[in-house]
């Protein structure tokens, strides 16, 4: 059996201390295989976002371990960690986090800029990704002037600019109407099925979760085997 691209052992995370102490995660162990599509499903406050942040190495766990491609993330130096985030992961956020004042293309090539890619190659790669998401004609537009669906596609383009192996999405359709949401969903699943990108999505939308290979239900910081509320 191949090494899982991401795996966790007894992952815990606590916020605050004393009477304000809040255990967001209470020992989560899981394995995600390369090319899989996984939905992390739970209500707000269940710890699903915390889990994704820990998987994406955006946050340090209180206890337990995260292994990326067989390597314990704790052993990685700051520089290696930055390179890993930059090269291996792509992020799609519900709130987009676009820089409205600059052009769509500039927004998309931000990860390449951080990586230190040359201007020419950056442009070529950025245009290729925009082409793929049918946004090439908007490349010069200000990001702030786009519609919600277009913005989400720009965010996906940005996440894909570095050819990531894992795409993290946090409520990718949360801010979109049903029709636009469906288009974005199709794009994400196409990337997973036809480009081999591992897709990890946090959502509370059960219809969206149903389209994934695997669903991890989380409640009060622990994985549960079935979706009890849904079943009930």
């Amino acid at each position: 059996m191949s090494v899982p691209i991401l795996s966790t052992r007894d992952l815990t995370k606590t916020y605050g201390r004393g009477p304000d102490r809040f255990d967001a995660l209470k020992g989560v162990s899981l394995d995600i295989d390369r090319g899989d599509s996984v939905a992390i499903v739970g209500k707000s406050g269940s710890g699903k976002s915390t889990l994704m942040h820990l998987l994406a190495l955006l946050d340090t766990p209180g206890g337990g371990e995260v292994h990326v491609d067989g390597t314990n993330a704790k052993t990685l130096s700051g520089r290696k960690l930055n390179t890993l985030r930059n090269q291996m992961f792509g992020f799609v956020f519900q709130q987009f986090f676009l820089n409205h004042a600059t052009s769509v293309l500039d927004n998309v090539v931000l990860p390449l800029k951080i990586a230190g890619t040359g201007a020419r190659e950056r442009r070529a790669r950025g245009m290729a990704v925009l082409e793929q998401l049918e946004l090439a004609d908007k490349a010069r537009n200000k990001a702030g002037n786009l519609s919600g669906g277009q913005k989400q596609r720009v965010v996906i383009a940005r996440a894909l600019a570095n050819n990531p192996q894992v795409l993290f999405a946090d409520e990718p359709t949360g801010n979109l109407d049903t029709a636009t949401g469906a288009i974005v969903e199709d794009i994400l699943f196409d990337l997973n099925q036809n480009h081999g990108i591992t897709l990890i999505t946090v959502t509370h939308d059960h219809d969206l979760a149903a389209r994934f290979n695997r669903r991890l239900y989380i409640r009060d910081g622990q994985l549960i085997t079935t979706d009890e509320e849904h079943a009930a």
């Binding site: 890993l84 990860p111 951080i114």
Partner: protein, 428 residues
């Protein structure tokens, strides 16, 4: 992120909030403007003083007098020595100066480091006259080797046998000469009385006309040939003892470092002479001016420090505003060092802009004002450009402002750099 990318991104970022950046730049502008102006004032006045100093005498010469111990308080009267003579001297009425004689000159010439000794002859010409017109009183600067600032003509020729004179420009019109340029090459008659009261006349050619000077005595300058002729005429009939005594001598030395000069000076002191360079004599003027410039500079620095807090504030707001963006960039693998570099470069760039605009405005306005002043209120002090800007010191000001801006930017930059990506992304 590549260093060049950091710079271009920082520049682009600083223009994102135009009003805020503009206000900060204005604050820095005031500081840089003030600093450049005070600097220009310092340079302008120093330049002027230096040129004026050159007009008083050469910089590579001491004025040597015999040290008179009686002037120090509590020393009591000095024993009489038949070998010394005293002469009436300047200063308070009745003061005397122990005179130098030929043996003193020989002693001075023997001191290592001294290349030449000339007695200072006090010449007291009676009048100067051109073309049989009105006669005017004249004084002649006693120090050989002075380099007066000329409004017209050429410097004195000390090697030639033709008696030459440089007249202050204030003499030209009264003497009846048509103008500075026309005066060059004209012969003037100098009258001088000898010891017996007989008037001698000596003809000298005008080689140059001196600008109005700040430190100058208002007297004329004579070349060696004219000095010799005047000395001869003045001392006709004088007893030999007076002929060969002088109040002071000029001892020249090869231009050297301050330490070497002090060395020679201490040797002269040990031999019983008081030696002063030109620097010593007018050093106080410079000290006062440097003091004034220093105070003005201090005000400019205060303005700059205030502007520095403006930069801190601007960038802190910028960091606050861009919290999510910083978080996003860090999530995408941007290192803390790069984030720090990005924000501190932005600070330095704002500093650069402010100081460039400030310095440019100061240079433009300063040159204009200086020109107006030189033509108007300060026209009596010819050659004075009250504000002049040396490229080196202006570059120094710009660099200093950039350093202050950079330092001001480190706090916000550090705050931006240490942000946890996930906290930044959660920030609403």
């Amino acid at each position: 992120m590549k260093p060049l990318e950091t710079v271009t991104t920082a520049i682009a970022n600083s223009f994102r909030s135009k009003l805020r950046t503009t206000l900060t730049i204005l604050a820095i502008f005031v500081g840089a403007f003030t600093l450049t102006i005070t600097n220009g004032l310092g340079t302008g006045i120093s330049n002027y003083i230096d040129s004026q100093v050159a007009a008083v005498g050469p910089s590579n010469a001491f004025t040597v007098t015999k040290t008179d111990a009686s002037t120090s308080p509590g020393s009591g009267p000095q024993k009489y020595d038949p070998n010394t003579r005293v002469l009436a001297a300047g200063g308070r009425p009745g003061s005397t100066q122990v005179a130098l004689n030929q043996s003193d000159l020989d002693t001075l010439a023997a001191i290592p480091g001294i290349t030449g000794v000339n007695p200072v002859s006090r010449l007291s010409p009676a009048y100067v006259q051109w073309n049989s017109q009105e006669k005017y009183q004249l004084s002649i600067s006693p120090l050989a080797g002075a380099q007066p600032q000329l409004a017209a003509g050429a410097p004195l020729d000390d090697a030639g046998s033709e008696p030459q004179i440089v007249l202050p420009s204030s003499y030209i019109t009264p003497l009846g000469l048509p103008g500075n340029d026309q005066a060059i090459g004209q012969d003037v008659t100098i009258g001088i009385q000898d010891a017996a009261g007989t008037m001698h006349t000596i003809t000298a050619r005008i080689s140059g006309v001196e600008d109005n000077a700040l430190l100058g005595s208002g007297g004329a300058f004579a070349n060696k040939a004219l000095t010799a002729a005047l000395t001869d005429a003045q001392s006709t009939g004088a007893p030999a003892a007076t002929k060969n005594t002088w109040t002071a001598a000029t001892a020249t030395f090869t231009p050297s470092t301050k330490a070497q000069i002090n060395d020679i000076k201490s040797r002269l002191t040990a031999a019983g002479y008081t030696a002063q360079t030109l620097e010593d004599r007018i050093g106080t003027v410079k000290t006062v001016i440097n003091g004034i410039i220093g105070v003005l500079d201090a005000f400019a620095i205060i303005a700059l420090v205030a502007a520095g807090f403006g930069i801190v504030n601007t960038l802190l707001m910028s960091v606050q505003e861009r919290t999510r963006e910083i978080g996003l960039m860090k999530a995408m693998g941007m290192g803390s060092g790069s984030v720090f570099a990005l924000f501190s470069t932005e600070a330095a760039f704002i500093g650069l802009l402010g100081s460039l605009i400030g310095s440019a405005a100061a240079i433009g306005l300063g040159t204009a004002i200086s020109g107006v002043l030189a033509r108007g209120p300060l026209s009596d002090l010819a050659g004075l450009q009250i504000l002049s800007f040396a490229p080196g010191s202006v570059a120094g000001v710009i660099l200093l402002v950039m350093i202050i801006a950079f330092l001001a930017g480190t706090l916000p930059a550090w705050r931006a750099a240490r942000q946890n990506p996930i906290d930044s992304l959660r920030y609403e």
